[in-house]
């Protein structure tokens, strides 16, 4: 619409990241460059994923409204590479446990935000044409932040040897769920015919659910840790 609208969208998309960075203690540990490292790792992972996609998977030939479950499934499977990326980041960053996955999550999400949201917003939201989709895009990026932090937390939990064996399957299931989220979304769009707002709502419910369970597991682990240290 106007530069003002663009400003609105950018504020909506970026300020939560800033708040999280400032208030989660990342800034106190001056983890800025660590976050940049995590972002670089994001770029590298995406590049690898793209190479694999381009090399091994044929392009889908279906129309716009055609639901290509197999193709989407393949893509989501490649998204498992993200988890490896997270694992790699957390292995290479030297930080205290909880900070580790915050750095990975925030860095990763910020890199994604910059890579995938800036250009569409710049081109779209600044135009004369008004569309709610840029506000939705910004809100979705907030949801993605939660998503990435919880994924990072889950990967971190999974890599812990002191994790209770009984919760291991839950962690793996949640990881798989967050990886295959695009597939679920795609199916939802086609099966339930969700509008853009309801879809956003569904995504955020899903993400907050995963996030909450991850938090619970993390707190549980921390509890046992504290127990040992005590």
């Amino acid at each position: 619409m106007t530069l003002f609208h663009f400003g609105n969208c950018v504020a909506l998309a970026y300020i939560p990241y800033f708040i999280v960075y400032k208030c989660s203690g990342l800034s106190e540990y001056s983890a800025f460059w660590k976050c940049v490292q995590a972002g670089t790792a994001y770029l590298f992972t995406q590049l690898c994923k793209m190479m694999i996609l381009a090399t091994f998977f044929p392009t889908s030939e279906g129309g716009v409204n055609h639901l290509d479950i197999m193709g989407e499934f393949m893509k989501s499977t490649i998204d498992l590479g993200d988890l490896i990326g997270f694992y790699f980041i957390m292995n290479s960053i030297s930080a205290k446990g909880e900070l580790k996955f915050l750095v990975a999550g925030v860095g990763w999400a910020t890199a994604e935000l910059i890579m995938t949201r800036v250009v569409p917003m710049w081109v779209g939201a600044r135009g004369t044409e008004f569309d709610w989709k840029y506000i939705q895009l910004s809100l979705e990026s907030n949801v993605n932040l939660v998503q990435h932090i919880s994924t990072a937390a889950l990967v971190w939990l999974w890599s812990r040897h002191d994790l209770n064996k009984s919760v291991q399957p839950i962690v793996v299931t949640l990881l798989a769920l967050s990886s295959y989220k695009p597939l679920v979304v795609e199916i939802l769009i086609h099966a339930a015919g969700l509008g853009s707002w309801t879809l956003l709502l569904a995504k955020s419910f899903f993400t907050f659910g995963v996030g909450f369970v991850a938090l619970q597991l993390y707190v549980g682990l921390q509890g046992t840790l504290n127990h040992y240290t005590k």
Binding site: C23, S24, G127, F130, I135
Partner: protein
Amino acid sequence: MWFAEAEEVVEVVRGHFPWTCLLLVPILIAISPVHGAHDFTAYRMQQFDLQGTQYGCRNTLVNLEARPISAKMVTRRCVLAKLSEMTADRYKELKEQGAGALVILLPESLNSSPQDVLNQWMELEPLMLEQEANMPVYFATEDDELLSIHSDIQQAVSGDQAPSAAQALLSAVYANGFQMVVSGSQAKPVKDGHIISFQGQLTGKGVEDQLPTLAVVAHYDAFGAAPHLSHGADSNGSGVVALLELARLFSKLYTSSRTHAKYNLLFFLSGGGKFNYHGTKRWIEDQLESQESSLLSDVSYVLCLDTIGAGDELYLHVSKPPKEGSESHQLLQELEAITKSVNPSMKFSMVHKRINLGDDWLAWEHERFSMQRLPAGTLSHLSSYDSASRSTITDDISRVDSSKLARNVKIIAETLAHHIFGIGSSEMEVFVDGYDVNKDSIDSWIKYLSSEPRSAQLLTKDEPLLNTLQSALSRYLKDVKRLTIKADKREPEYVFYDGLKFTVHAYNVKPAVFDLFLAAGIASYLGLIYLAVQNFSMLRDTVRSYVAKKPKIH
């Protein structure tokens, strides 16, 4: 050591980051593209100067909010209206109130609109063309997107339309406003506004210079509210078709020495007919001034054909009633007699109208000849020169009845034949059997001519239509010449303008106040997030206490 340097560079970037950003913004604004949503083709209203007077719409560019025709405030707004909503009175009001632009949506087929809509339009169209307008006026053909935009803007969008402030605010969130944009450059005068005409002849039996000559003239260009919408089937596609058919019929007669008459026939397809018969004017001047003796200088009669494709009447418009005993009078009588014999129910009469030199517009093409004291008349099914149907965009193929056109061609052909062969009896038919008028050819010609716009502005160069006309004439006539005229450099008699076809972008927009409210909403949302993140430890503690309870149960 290099590490320290790197640190320094990083420090510089970090220190100046906001400034770099500030520098970047204008650059990005300058180079970045902006998307449009609904694009449609629109045709601009006529714009031309004739003898120093300006006509049509003088502006091109639009960047204004769309408003319905019923809006109270139209100043600096773009009014989007269906043809059925436009009335002459409302148009005048819009002009008075200084509407920024007007986009008129035309139905898919204009002539299938209800009769009262057509009547309204026939009242409005001459009014639009008669005066100049400062607002750009565009015509677009209705499609689903345009109709949805049209229905969207019927709802009040911003403050100047809504009954109360609260409603205005609410509707700002729900309703869609539209910004209409036509960008590009302002319309400029066309430098080489050529007008092209064609001349051809059939030479009679004997010495060419000593034989009498009859001329048949028709102008081929069309006129209407917008050049790109002027198909001019009846006016004057019908005249062109008749001229071509006459050329064909007489060329057939003139090839055989038994039917070769002692008369020269001169055919002239004139351009710029709707611009005061400018092509004709120059042609007459050239012919009369030329050193060689030309056929036109001692022509015995010039018959102009204009709008003869419908109706059961025929009128011969003259500037001076022919004297009894003169050749013109004889021709008039023959025409009357033959009209009666071809179809007794047809009405034929002569209409006398003196040339009004004070008027900006000439009434009929024959006046150009009459002004040079050449005997001339225009044949038409219209009883009056100021009929709106001679210059309208509704003049399409449905306005022409090709069987009536063929009948009129037959009447004209018989009259000319009777005249040049000196046949007294009106009952005798010349064009029978293999020589008859070809209805199929008339039908296909009129379809071809009305299939594309034929405005003088659009036919200034080597258009295919012009080449087709020339080759059709060359098939039947001798000495076919193309006459190209240019307007005078210093005091142009006519000036055409470019920029007649545009792409209009309709952007879905919200009022500025909506952005303010959105900003407030976003600010409060961010505040909530801030609080949530600040108090995250509370949530964690809650979860912890919940998790801690669990083991106790076991």
